[in-house]
C-alpha cells in the first residue's frame, strides 16, 4: 500500500496540534468574514498574508484555506436573517432562506445551511482526493473561447431565476454587464463611463452594489408597512424537522455534484454553482412549485453547491497552478510567498503540503459544523430586536461594509444610489440577482471575448468549432429558449 503512504503522511501532518489550531483560527475567521457583509475572503487573505510569513507553508495554507471555505458557511447567515448576502455565492439563498425567516423558520434554515455545507464540503474533499489530477487536466482545456461561453451560459441561467419575467431578467443582466464596463477597460486601460470622476476609475465595486440592492432596498420595502407590522416573526424551533431532512437530501446531493464540477472551472465558481443549483431545484425537482415560497430545498441545494465549489476550486490551483478565482489567486500568492510552486509536480515534490492541506479540510468542516450549529441559536436572537432598532443597524452594517472597501465616501454614495434604485426596480417588478451576477461576470467575460476574437482574428467561428465551447453555447441557448417554450405551452392561444 505504498500509494497510500503520502496520504497517511498528510493526515499526520494536518493533525499536529499546532496545525489543528491554525485550522481552527482559519475557519473561525472565515465564519466571521462570511457573516460580515462587505468583508470578503479575498480581502481577508490579503490582509492576513503578511501574518503567515513566520508560519511554515503547510500551516499557512491550512489557515488560509480555512478562511475561504469557512466564509462559505457564514455567507448564508445574513442572507437568511436580513436578506443581505454575506458573499455573492449566498445570493440565491436569500430567496427561500429569508422567506423561511418571515415564516418563523429561521432556525431551520440556518441549521440546514450549516448541515448542507458540511455534507457538501466533506464530500467535495473526498472528490478532491480521488479525481483532482483528472479534473485538473479538464480545466486546462479551457481557453478564452471556452471561458467566454461558460460565462454566457452562467448568464443565461438567470432566465430561470427569481419571479421576474424573462424579458426583465435579461434586461437586468445586460444592465449589469453594461455597469461592469465602467472604469478602465481590461485590455487597453481606456477610461469608460467615468464621467471624469476618480472614484469610478476602478469600476463599480461589487460590495456597495450588493449592500444597496439587497440590504437598503429590503429595508425600504419593509418601511412600506406601518411600524407595528414590520417585525419579523419570532422563530419557532431551532432545528430542521425530520421532513426538512427528507426534502433536503436530494438537493444537497445534486448541489454537491454541480458545485464540485463548476468549482473546478475558472470564472464564477461558487456563485455560478449556487445559482445553477437553485435553478435546478426550481425547475426540475419534484417540489419545484414550492421554491421561492420558503422551501428548505432552496437553502440546502445552493449552500451545498457553494461549499462544494469552494473546495473544487482548489483543484486547478493545486494540480495546475492556475487560480480559478480571486481567492485562489491570493492563495497562489501565499504559496509563492512561501517558496512553493503549485503545479502538476506539487503532489510529487511536496506531498506533505498537498495531502496535508486536503486532510485539514476534513477537520475544518467538522470544526465548522460544531461551530455553526450552536451559533444558530445566537444568530436568531437578532430577530427579537424591534424593527425600528434593527433597521438602522442593518443600514449601519451596509454603510460600514461599503465604506471599508476602499475608505472612500464615494462607495457609500454608490450604495445609497443602488439602494434607492434597487427599491424602485423591485417596485417595477425587476429582480436584482441577474444584475449582480452580470456585474461579477462582466469584466472576465469581456476579457475572454476580446482575447478569443483576437486569437481567431475576428472570426466568431472559434466559439462553435471548439467542442467544449459549442456544448456550453448550446446549453446556453437551451437555457434561454426552454423557459419561453414552457411558457407558451402553459398558456395555449
Amino acid at each position: 500500500m505504498d500509494a497510500l503512504a503520502p496520504i497517511v503522511h498528510g493526515f499526520a501532518a494536518a493533525f499536529e496540534p499546532a496545525r489543528i489550531l491554525y485550522c481552527l483560527i482559519g475557519v473561525v475567521v472565515g465564519t466571521i468574514v462570511g457573516v460580515l457583509p462587505g468583508l470578503g475572503p479575498a480581502a481577508t487573505i490579503a490582509l492576513l498574508l503578511p501574518a503567515t510569513y513566520r508560519l511554515d507553508p503547510v500551516s499557512a495554507v491550512i489557515m488560509l484555506a480555512g478562511i475561504y471555505y469557512g466564509s462559505q458557511y457564514g455567507g448564508s447567515t445574513t442572507s437568511i436573517l436580513v436578506r443581505i448576502p454575506g458573499e455573492s455565492s449566498s445570493m440565491v439563498t436569500c430567496y427561500d432562506g429569508y422567506e423561511m425567516t418571515r415564516q418563523g423558520r429561521a432556525g431551520a434554515a440556518l441549521g440546514m445551511a450549516a448541515i448542507a455545507s458540511f455534507v457538501a464540503g466533506t464530500a467535495a474533499v473526498v472528490g478532491l482526493m480521488v479525481v483532482a489530477p483528472l479534473l485538473g487536466r479538464f480545466a486546462l482545456a479551457f481557453g478564452p473561447a471556452e471561458y467566454a461561453s461558460l460565462m454566457i451560459l452562467g448568464l443565461t441561467l438567470v432566465a430561470w431565476l427569481g419571479s421576474a419575467s424573462l424579458l426583465k431578467s435579461l434586461a437586468m443582466a445586460v444592465t449589469g454587464l453594461l455597469l461592469a464596463t465602467v472604469g478602465q477597460d481590461p485590455v487597453a486601460g481606456v477610461e469608460r463611463f467615468t464621467f471624469g470622476t476618480q472614484s469610478l476609475l476602478d469600476g463599480i465595486d461589487l460590495v456597495p452594489v450588493f449592500m444597496g440592492l439587497f440590504g437598503i432596498a429590503e429595508v425600504l420595502e419593509t418601511m412600506e408597512r406601518p411600524p407595528a407590522e414590520q417585525r419579523l416573526p419570532t422563530p419557532k424551533g431551532l432545528w430542521p424537522t425530520r421532513q426538512d431532512f427528507r426534502d433536503s437530501a436530494a438537493p444537497v446531493a445534486r448541489g454537491t455534484v454541480l458545485g464540485f464540477l463548476l468549482g473546478v472551472l475558472p470564472g464564477g465558481g461558487a456563485t455560478i454553482a449556487s445559482i445553477a443549483s437553485y435553478v435546478t431545484e426550481k425547475r426540475f425537482a419534484r417540489n419545484r412549485a414550492r421554491l421561492g415560497q420558503g422551501a428548505i430545498e432552496g437553502v440546502a441545494g445552493p449552500e451545498a453547491a457553494n461549499n462544494a465549489a469552494a473546495t473544487g476550486s482548489f483543484i486547478p490551483l493545486l494540480t495546475l497552478g492556475i487560480p480559478a478565482n480571486v481567492v485562489m489567486a491570493m492563495m497562489l500568492a501565499a504559496l509563492t510567498l512561501h517558496g512553493v510552486r503549485p503545479g502538476p509536480l506539487l503532489v510529487v515534490e511536496r506531498p506533505d503540503l498537498f495531502w496535508g492541506v486536503i486532510a485539514s479540510m476534513y477537520l475544518g468542516n467538522v470544526l465548522l459544523l460544531i461551530l455553526n450549529l450552536p451559533l444558530v441559536g445566537l444568530f436568531i436572537q437578532i430577530l427579537r430586536l424591534p424593527y425600528p432598532v434593527l433597521a438602522p443597524l442593518i443600514l449601519l452594517f451596509c454603510l460600514i461594509g461599503s465604506y471599508s472597501v476602499t475608505g472612500q465616501t464615494a462607495e457609500v454614495a454608490t450604495m445609497v444610489c443602488f439602494g434607492v434604485g434597487g427599491y424602485l426596480l423591485r417596485k417595477l417588478g425587476f429582480d436584482a440577482a441577474p444584475l449582480v451576477l452580470a456585474l461579477i461576470l462582466g469584466r472576465p467575460l469581456e476579457e475572454s471575448l476580446r482575447q478569443a476574437l483576437a486569437i481567431s482574428q475576428g472570426s466568431f467561428a472559434v466559439f462553435v468549432t471548439r467542442p467544449i465551447s459549442l456544448v456550453l453555447l448550446l446549453a446556453a441557448a437551451a437555457s434561454l429558449t426552454a423557459p419561453a417554450l414552457a411558457r407558451i405551452r402553459r398558456q395555449p392561444a
Binding site: 445586460v174 469608460r192 464621467f195 425600528p388 417588478g429 476580446r450
Partner: protein, 155 residues
C-alpha cells in the same frame, strides 16, 4: 384603468431606454476597433444596443397591455413619509459624514430611524443612538480595525 406611465413595464422600459441612451452618448468617443482587435468601445456598444432593444420591447409590451400601477404603496401619506425620511437620512449621511464624523452622523441616522421612521419615543431613540454609534465605533473601528469614515471636525 391604470395610466400608461404607472405600469411597471412602461416605466421600467422607459428608464432602461434612458440608460441605454446615456450609455450611447457617453460611449461615443470610445474606440470600437475591429473584430480581430476589438477596442474599448466594442463590448459597451453591443450591450447598449442590446439594452435598447430589450427596453423598447418592454415599453411596447407595457403600452399594449393594461397592468397594475406600481405606485400603489405610495398612495398612503405616512408610508411616503417613512420612505422619504429614510432616503433623506441616508443622503444626509453621505453628505455629512466627511465633516461631522462617524459618531455624530451615525447617531443622527439612528435618531431619525428610531424616532421618526420607527415612531418610538425620544428617550428610546437617544439611548439607542448613543449606544449603537459609540458601540459600533469601538467594535469596528478599535477592536476590528475596520476603516471607518472620519470627519474633518470630529472622529
Amino acid at each position: 384603468m391604470t395610466p400608461g406611465w404607472a405600469r411597471s413595464d412602461v416605466a421600467g422600459g422607459a428608464a432602461l431606454l434612458a440608460l441605454a441612451a446615456l450609455a450611447w452618448v457617453a460611449g461615443r468617443g470610445l474606440p470600437l476597433g475591429a473584430l480581430s482587435q476589438p477596442g474599448a468601445g466594442f463590448f459597451p456598444r453591443i450591450l447598449t444596443l442590446l439594452l435598447a432593444v430589450l427596453s423598447l420591447t418592454m415599453l411596447v409590451h407595457g403600452l399594449a397591455r393594461p397592468g397594475a400601477a406600481f405606485t400603489e404603496p405610495w398612495t398612503d401619506r405616512s408610508t411616503r413619509r417613512r420612505l422619504l425620511l429614510m432616503t433623506g437620512a441616508l443622503v444626509f449621511y453621505v453628505a455629512a459624514v466627511g465633516t461631522l464624523g462617524y459618531l455624530v452622523t451615525t447617531a443622527a441616522l439612528f435618531v431619525v430611524m428610531v424616532r421618526w421612521v420607527g415612531g418610538r419615543g425620544w428617550a428610546h431613540a437617544l439611548v439607542v443612538a448613543a449606544l449603537c454609534s459609540a458601540g459600533s465605533w469601538y467594535v469596528f473601528g478599535r477592536l476590528l480595525r475596520v476603516n471607518l469614515p472620519a470627519g474633518a471636525l470630529l472622529p
